[in-house]
Each structure stands twice: as C-alpha cells, then as structure tokens.
Amino acid sequence: MTKVKLPRKSTAIDMTAMCDVAFLLLTFFMLTSNFTQKEPVLVNTPSSISEIKIPERNIMTILIDRSGKLFFGIDGQDKRIDLLKKMGEAYSYTFTDAELKEFSLINRFGVPIEQMKSFLALKPADRDLLENALGIPYDSLDNQFKSWVRFSRFVNPQLRIAIKADQALAYPVIKDVMNTLQDLDENRYNLITSLEQSPDQIQ
C-alpha cells in the first residue's frame, strides 16, 4: 500500500478578498445612510394603509406629543440660520453668531422664542429634558408657531409640511394646528403614519 501523501497546507486564509468586501459594504452603507434623528419627545404615530414615502429633503416637521406640546424643525443648516435671524427680527431678539451656529445643529426644538437664548446656552444633552421641552405656543393669543411656519416658507419655498402627531392627541389641538396652517394658505400637508400590518387590525 502506498500512502497518499497529502501536501501540508497552511490553515491561514488570505484575508485580502474578505477585507475588500467588508470595506466595499462599509462604503455603501456610509454613502446611503442618513442617521436616525433623535426626537425630543416620544411620539407614537397612528397607523394607516397609505404607502406614500416621505421625501428626504425640504421637509418642515411639526411634531406634536400626546399632551399637545408642539416641536418644530426644518432641514438645511444654512436655512435654519436664516430662519432664526428672521424670527429674531420679528420678535426683536438678536442672536449672536455662536447662537445661530448652535441653532443650526438642532433638528427639532420646542421652546418659546423668549426662552430661545437660554435654550441655546444649554448643553445638547440637557435640551431634551422634560422641563426644557416646553413646546412652541400656538394658541390664538401668542401664535409663534404661525411665525415659524411663515418664515420657514420664506427662507425655503420648497418646503413640504409633515405633521407627526401622537395617536392619543386630542382633536382640538390638531384642529388648531390645521387652522393655523390654513390661515397661512398652507393647504397641502403630509400626516406621518406608520404602516398598518393588515386591514383587519383597525379597532
């Protein structure tokens, strides 16, 4: 019997190809990703069968939590700076360059304009605390929300309005918000919903 001699092979594998694949995927994910944006309050959106996707850019987000606090945000950092300048002019507040810079980094905010300065002075981690999340006033006495929408439209005419509200929100609140938008001739807007699993689950 002749023994078949197996050649001794090294167990080390060439990792170069695997490395290539890994970095290729990494590049793909880095280029396609847009990060999950942190929101100041937890909002549980109602579900619907609608499958229209929201566009990625030029969105004005109106966030309303279950107690009726209103948060607001637009995208585009330079647009945000213009927006705060305009708001400052209208309510006679002057913001420093540092404050404008700080504001341009905030996705959603929910403070009355009177508290904006102290809000911007806070550490980013403290801004989402409950006592600092006051909501933007939108009642008929002091409708700052209306000004925010008007000036946002002014700095970026292509903005689309997206309302993201909690499902337990009382109807009068949403009616107020819709009426405000109607006053400004903003008649088309999107209501953000989550996908319904099956049509039978509506209760």
């Binding site: 995927l25 990494l26 994910f29 847009n34 109602p46 609608s50 997206a162 009382a170 919903t193 209760q203």
Partner: protein, 207 residues
C-alpha cells in the same frame, strides 16, 4: 550612529539568510474585523425605512361666494361624526321636513363604518377592483391606473362624506377615518367643523 551602522551591517552579514525569509504578507484579519465592526455600526444607525405619510389637502380659507359653492345633494351626503371613546356616528342626508335623520352608532372595526361605506359605495368599489385586476393582468402603468381610478371615484352617484370630529375625538380617530376613505375608495370627502345641530343629534348616544 556610525557605530550602530557598522554593527547592523555586521550582523546582517551573519544572518543574511534569515532576514530575507520575512514575508511581506500582512495579516488582514484585524482589518476585516474593523471593517465589519463599522458595517454593523452603520447598519444599526441608519434608517432604511422612510416613514409613511398620508397626503391631505384642505380647502383654503378664502370665502367662496354662495353661487360658486358646490352644493351637495342631500341623498349623496353621508355625515360621519367622531365621538368620545372611539365611537363613530353616521347619518345620511340632512334634516328634511322637520324630521331629523336617523343617527347610527358604530365603531372603527371592519364590520363597522367600513361595512356601511362599502355598501354605499359598492359600484365604485366593484369598478376599482376590476381595474386592479386589469392592472395585474395587462400591466397597466401606475399613472394610467391612478387616472382611471380617479375617474371612477368622481362618479356622479358616489357618496360624499363629511367628516366632523367632536372635541373628544383623538388624532388616531381622524387618521383612521381618513384611512377608511382610502380603503372604501371614497372620492369626495371633507373635514368640517362640527355644528351645534350635530352635537344635539348625537347628544344622547355620545356618553
């Protein structure tokens, strides 16, 4: 310096064979590890699913002169009132000859308001279903389908739904009822402020 040089050159002489054997290959394993770690990070932090939205167009607030207003035929009108605790009320037509319309109480389940709306909108539902079948078979383009669907939905006999929400209704109720409009292919519907008359109608049942 020079000393070191001479020493190294000296040692080189002696170990010449050994020094040459060092492979130029690098172990890529840690780099792969790093690559996959970063991939995992990016995969977890990205949002692949964009949120769903429901598009809604509200009428503008400009006053329309009376003669230009679209009059709703009473027989086509269905009024839906969103009440307390997910209650839904509906009635057809309007007050005629001093007789109040009969108000029915129902809910958001598929055997509730949906059943009623589908019943009232049966012709349109059938036509849309046929159209969907046609779309599947003949591969009709999306635009063509939407256009034809709109045509069917603006049928002259199809019901017109008027949605009125009481102050006790929630945002979820509003979304749900708008959803029902989409499910039942209601072409024309409007969200209207509730009137005292309607509140009076549902007063006994909205407890």
């Amino acid at each position: 310096m020079s000393e070191v040089n001479t020493e190294s050159s000296g040692s080189k002489k002696g170990k010449k064979k050994g020094a040459k054997k060092v492979s130029t290959r690098i172990d890529f394993t840690p780099m792969v590890d790093l690559g996959f770690l970063l991939i995992t990070f990016f995969m977890l932090t990205t949002t692949m699913i964009k949120p769903q939205t429901m598009e809604i167009a509200m009428p503008s607030k400009d006053k329309v002169p009376d003669e230009e207003q679209t009059k709703v035929k009473a027989s086509r009108a269905i009024t839906i009132i969103l009440g307390k605790d997910n209650k839904v009320f509906y009635y057809e037509g309007t007050r005629e000859n001093d007789v109040d319309p009969a108000v029915e109480l129902t809910d958001f389940s598929s055997s509730g308001i949906r059943k009623f709306l589908i019943g009232r909108n049966y012709d349109v539902m059938l036509k849309v279903e046929e159209l969907q079948k046609e779309k599947r078979d003949k591969q009709m383009t999306e635009e063509e389908f939407e256009k034809k669907k709109l045509e069917i939905m603006s049928d002259k006999k199809a019901p017109i739904v008027i949605i009125k929400a009481t102050d006790e209704a929630t945002y979820k109720n509003l979304i749900d009822i708008l959803d029902e409009m989409a499910i039942c292919n209601i072409g024309k519907y409007a969200i209207v402020d509730i009137s005292d008359y309607d509140l009076e109608l549902i007063k006994d049942k909205n407890i």
